[in-house]
């Protein structure tokens, strides 16, 4: 609890000292499994700030909303490790002015994925959740379940190696540097081991679900185009129908558009109302970007985004011999 208190205290101080006009953080949501974004402009609101397992939203998405809505404001923002990388990436991409943002890191131990929770309850509604740090207890009509916290964590968190902000102005507590994670690429490697047609069958089943609501895109801090390519119609890049090829190509291109820019925060996957395992492709791309170009998105505030850069002696194993 002291962490949240410290966070609240920090927000109050920043506001009191007029270092910021606004602080973006989470507050308790209207549903037991949800937190919701909170925009604090006065000190008395600061006590609503929370940070817990429900705080999955990557709040840096708000910087680019409505064409850089905060461009004339000093903004404080609470960030998990992944969110911080989004902020850095958006700084590199000139969407955020480093001087106008106070990056406030919070110690992250993973956020939940609602789908995993509902799998646990067989779809039964959750009316209360208690997280004691190791175990999570769910309560609903006629049931109570307890299990290891890791079982409901978002797939992004299970593969995370930078839980805490690597670039920040304030950190609530002690920030951890890179942490080891053996399982980081386990799922990707497992999928790669399947046959091409198995992979295809799998992908097809997933992406056929897409209803083109674009929640994945809109919660993504790296997706800030004024008009997304898929919405452009002169020329129209691809169809907006739910036909599988249209959806698949939308997702392939979106993945390429966030190549070297995706911080693997998992917001897209958590936002998807159709439970598509969106992050899988993102992580595959991020893995290639790391392997081939040595880049991890949003880690180096003095770097260059991977896809705006090149090295002459890069691996080109995919070029016909």
């Amino acid at each position: 609890m002291s962490m949240v208190n410290n966070l609240r205290k920090t927000i109050k101080e920043l506001l009191a000292e007029k270092k910021i006009d606004l602080f973006i953080v989470w507050e308790k949501g209207s549903l037991p499994l949800s937190a919701t974004p909170l925009f604090i402009t006065s000190e008395d609101e600061a006590d609503r700030a929370v940070f817990d397992i429900t705080c999955g939203n990557n709040l840096s998405v708000y910087f680019t909303k409505d064409r850089k809505q905060f461009s004339d404001k000093k903004v404080g923002i609470a960030v998990k490790g992944c969110d911080a990388r989004s902020v850095v990436l958006n700084i590199l991409e000139k969407q955020i002015d480093r001087r106008n943002v106070v990056i406030t890191g919070v110690p992250c131990h993973g956020v939940l994925d609602k789908k995993k929770v509902l799998d646990k309850t067989d779809g039964r509604e959750v009316l209360e959740m208690i997280d004691d740090g190791d175990t999570v207890t769910l309560k609903g009509k006629g049931y109570e379940l307890s299990f290891d916290r890791s079982e409901i964590l978002s797939s992004s968190c299970l593969a995370c190696i930078y839980p805490d902000a690597q670039e920040c102005d304030i950190f609530i507590g002690d920030a951890r540097a890179e942490i080891p994670n053996e399982n980081r690429l386990k799922e990707i490697k497992e999928f790669e081991a399947l046959s091409s047609s198995e992979r295809w069958a799998n992908t097809r089943a997933e992406y056929e679900k897409c209803i083109r609501c674009y929640a994945c895109r809109n919660v993504c801090p790296s997706c800030y185009c004024n008009v997304c390519f898929v919405d452009q119609n002169d020329p129209g890049w691809i169809g907006n129908t739910c036909e599988f090829t249209d959806s698949m190509i939308f997702h392939i291109i979106r993945n390429l558009h966030v190549a070297g820019r995706c911080v693997e925060c998992g917001a897209c996957e958590r936002a998807c109302p159709m439970d598509i395992n969106l992050l899988q492709l993102n992580r595959k791309v991020a893995m290639e970007v790391k392997d081939r170009f040595g880049d991890i998105a949003g880690l180096d505030i003095n770097g260059k985004p991977a896809m705006a850069d090149f090295r002459e002696d890069e691996k080109q194993d995919f070029i016909m011999g």
Binding site: T36, V61, I211, R217, D231
Partner: protein, 348 residues
């Protein structure tokens, strides 16, 4: 009207019998998500969820629908199946939504009576359809159907009202079509008095589980009065303008038309659109009357609770709670409406 009872063991026979004349849709799972799927037997039905993930509107108003095709030889209407549709297991919120949508597609109030445009694609399907509703015995915490004249046992939009009473389904026709079909099918028996009593008990239990609604009287007028207020910026601040709410909503019905063609061949497709998307209102000139997120969020709220009620006398929201569940930033429409109430009283 008479109530009949269907032994759940005979449910498969019932569906089979229904399938002779109808294409039957019922709640089912596709890749883990629930929605209404075509079924041929009761085994394919998954009736575990109170509210399916996707609403039933896509049966009559699909996400992408070919309107016509063209080539060098001319234009041809899209090929459609002529079998009538029967839907099993529609909750009251979804059934009510069809009534709301039918007004738009079939009897738009803006048009003079004799010129009313009947959308053939909707009408063809909807007019011949048969809706077996299913009352909710255990409404969810996200359900708010009771806010706008509905309720877990509301029958609006149904042809047959169904109550899940343990081992049996209790069915009661609530329309002519419903009476006809109940008369035609064979696999059930007349309900007993106890059945009727049980149904009434279940209904009142369900009603009592609903949280009392806030004051929604005059909501439309209140909203209209707030049109230019800053409250919309506050409400919309967290909205990321995706279409999860509109696409999961049983009553949202905005669409875009797109031509897909190659050389001289092609087709025109009607595709769901969302007022949340910036390009929804983008004009050819480049001007966008709803360029900002706040204007779009306001539009959605106004359409549901002010404009539509103005035209048709009831809200364009059945309180199914799907938008509450899917919103990635937990922008809860119930909180929005409460905030409107409070803003009216306190801050305006």
């Amino acid at each position: 009207m008479k109530m009949v009872r269907l032994d759940k063991q005979k449910f498969n026979d019932f569906i089979r019998e229904l399938s002779v004349e109808y294409s039957v849709y019922a709640p089912g799972k596709v890749s883990g998500k629930t929605g209404f799927i075509p079924v041929e037997s009761g085994d394919e039905i998954d009736f575990t969820s109170t509210v399916t993930d996707m609403s039933a509107k896509s049966i009559f108003f699909p996400h992408s629908e070919v309107l016509f095709e063209y080539d060098e030889d001319g234009i041809r209407a899209a090929q459609t199946s002529h079998r009538p549709i029967a839907v099993w297991g529609m909750r009251s919120c979804d059934a009510r939504s069809l009534v709301m949508l039918d007004r738009v597609f079939g009897s738009a109030v803006q048009m003079p009576e004799d010129e009313k445009f009947q959308d053939p694609y909707w009408k063809e399907k909807y007019n011949t359809s048969l809706i077996f509703g299913c009352a909710c015995n255990e409404p969810l915490s996200t359900c708010f159907c009771n806010w706008f004249g509905g309720g877990p046992y509301n029958n609006d939009g149904m042809d047959v009202s169904v109550v899940d009473a343990g081992d049996v389904y209790l069915m009661e026709p609530v329309s002519e079509k419903g009476t006809d079909i109940i008369g035609k099918l064979s696999c059930y028996k007349d309900a007993a008095e106890e059945d009727k009593a049980l149904a009434a008990k279940l209904a009142s239990d369900a009603d009592s589980m609903m949280i009392a609604p806030p004051d929604t009287d005059g909501l439309g007028e209140r909203l209209t009065a707030l049109f230019d207020e800053a409250v919309w910026e506050e409400i919309s601040a967290k909205c990321v303008n995706c279409g999860a709410c509109t696409f999961s909503c049983p009553t949202c019905h905005c669409f875009d038309m797109q031509d897909e063609g190659k050389g001289s061949r092609g087709k025109r497709v009607r595709i769901w659109d969302s007022c949340m998307f910036p390009i929804f209102t983008m004009e050819a000139s480049g001007h966008n009357p709803r360029a900002l997120s706040s204007a779009r969020v306001r539009q959605r709220v106004m359409h549901k609770y002010s404009y539509y009620p103005e035209n048709y006398g009831e809200t364009l929201c059945t309180g199914c709670g799907r938008c509450v569940m899917v919103c990635p930033v937990n922008l809860d429409i119930r909180e929005v409406l409460k905030r409107i109430n409070v803003y009216n009283e306190q801050e305006k």
